[in-house]
Symmetry: C2
Subunit: 296 residues, 2 copies
């Protein structure tokens, strides 16, 4: 099976599970499900759950056990986008090719939909822990990894640095820290959580951590490059928003050519980290390459 | 020890633990801790963690084990207030006698501080699960109870009903549903979570559920009464906001006298639910009475 076909199969499994986890129930609160699902089911690359599933398969596990954790991370990712797009934050009108959540449902409901998705992520993970008593400890560990990655020492922390940095030029080290938190943490989390759920050894964990850190940073460098030379119609959001918002980016600090060189180097490092897994790492290696050439 | 003294002791334990859990670290993200702590450490009754601790003591446990779970609920409660106060929600300027979070830190940081507190609640509970392998299953169950209570089928669901009901008169049944979700769920959660953590029997759980449901509703009825005849300086927020926001309340639907009668009846039921615990229930009974006579 080629990479794209395999990726698409995993995405379909994710979409089915997300659909199931947010099935609308007929209750007075159903109005909020529409806003949650509007953003959650708007497509997207599903990179985070796909990573969790791919790691699981590489380690010889089956992906059903990690799927709910991957979906929980996708919910956290989606809530962060909804809140990030709000007028008082980035004030974005478009996301994934459609109007942002608050543009359709209003600010109040968008805030609540974000809150609800973050909360649902933990409901889903709690449910998983109650399902099987046998491996409850590794599930607890996986949840802890995800919780830390999305909190102040992870994603939210990155957003805070971002917010504090707007309109001024920040040192390269702080830019690195910002992205390691804002984007990197939630790309590393599915990889490590899945590794823990599959009882990975120390050396496997170390290799996967290096892989995840490199693709996480690569993902952000590519985002910055796309914002300069990407095609708005493919990205589903307007290019050039970083410059308009006076954001420090890899391109603004290092220039376009150097950013592209860094991107290639990061992908190369990511691929090399996986050598201990031999042939089983084929899909994850292809996934790293895909991050480099993606157009949205 | 009299009720007030005992309550105050428990509040102090809660405040110490909350302070510890949100100790500012010197990192680029520290700016967010100020906003989180501004709202979290602003006082408040700490009713939810106190309930968790009191249930634990009544059941013969010590309160240290339930304290982190109680504090997690207090964080969830506080985040919900921060988001509820936002301009696009209730647009409130004062809370607990001081300016609301967004008035001091701006909307963006208030949204993030709320997100961070919700997330931190689950970080804290995950950490607790990793600490001891022995009773990890009951900790998972407690966390699941709390997660459900704060989500769409609980608190957030109640906020959605509230939002959808603004400016129109709603049926009494829907008002009841709204409060059972919006306030009730997060008052019931510490009681049930603490009961589960202390391996309560079925009949004990049933009795405590009845207690919690009755005080939860009583708490809201009292809130509605206070909004009409409370003293703004004691409440730390202006009275009369329900009427100004055209909200349906117990007072607007049933009138002041009938609301007071309902309140007394609910407290009476709550107290009677505890009869199976005999003398050990003294503090929780006094707590129910306190809800009826509180002035803030």
């Amino acid at each position: 099976m080629d990479f794209k076909e395999k990726y698409q199969n995993l995405v379909e499994a994710v979409n089915l599970e997300l659909d199931k986890l947010t099935a609308e129930v007929d209750c007075p609160q159903r109005a909020i499900y529409q806003a949650m699902r509007y953003s959650l089911m708007a497509g997207g690359k599903r990179l985070r759950p796909v990573l969790a599933m791919a790691v699981s398969e590489m380690l010889g596990g089956n992906y059903e056990e990690v799927l709910p954790f991957g979906c929980a991370i996708e919910m956290i990712h989606t809530y962060s986008l909804i809140h990030d797009d709000l007028p008082s934050m980035d004030n974005d009108d478009y996301r994934r090719g459609r109007l942002t959540c608050h543009k359709v449902f209003g600010e109040a409901k968008a805030i609540l939909a974000g809150d609800a998705l973050l909360n649902l992520a933990f409901e889903v993970m709690s449910d998983e822990m109650l399902k099987s008593q046998g491996n409850i400890a590794s599930k607890a560990k996986a949840m802890s990894i995800i919780a830390k990655a999305s909190g102040v020492s992870g994603m939210i922390g990155g957003q805070v640095i971002d917010l504090e940095s707007e309109g001024r030029i920040i040192p390269a080290a702080l830019l690195g820290k910002m992205h390691a938190c804002k984007t990197g943490a939630l790309i590393k989390a599915p990889v490590l959580a899945s590794a823990v759920l599959n009882n990975a050894s120390c050396s496997e964990l170390e290799a996967l951590e290096s892989y995840a850190e490199n693709i996480g940073l690569a993902f952000q460098v590519k985002d910055d490059i796309l914002d300069v030379e990407g095609d708005s119609s493919l990205m589903g959001k307007p290019a050039g928003s970083d410059e308009a918002n006076q954001k420090s980016t890899y391109v603004s600090i290092y220039g376009l050519d150097e950013s592209k060189r860094m991107l290639a180097e990061l992908i190369d490092k990511a691929v090399k980290s996986l050598c201990i897994f031999g042939q089983n790492a084929q899909f994850l290696k292809a996934l790293a390459e895909y991050i480099m050439i993606r157009e949205n």
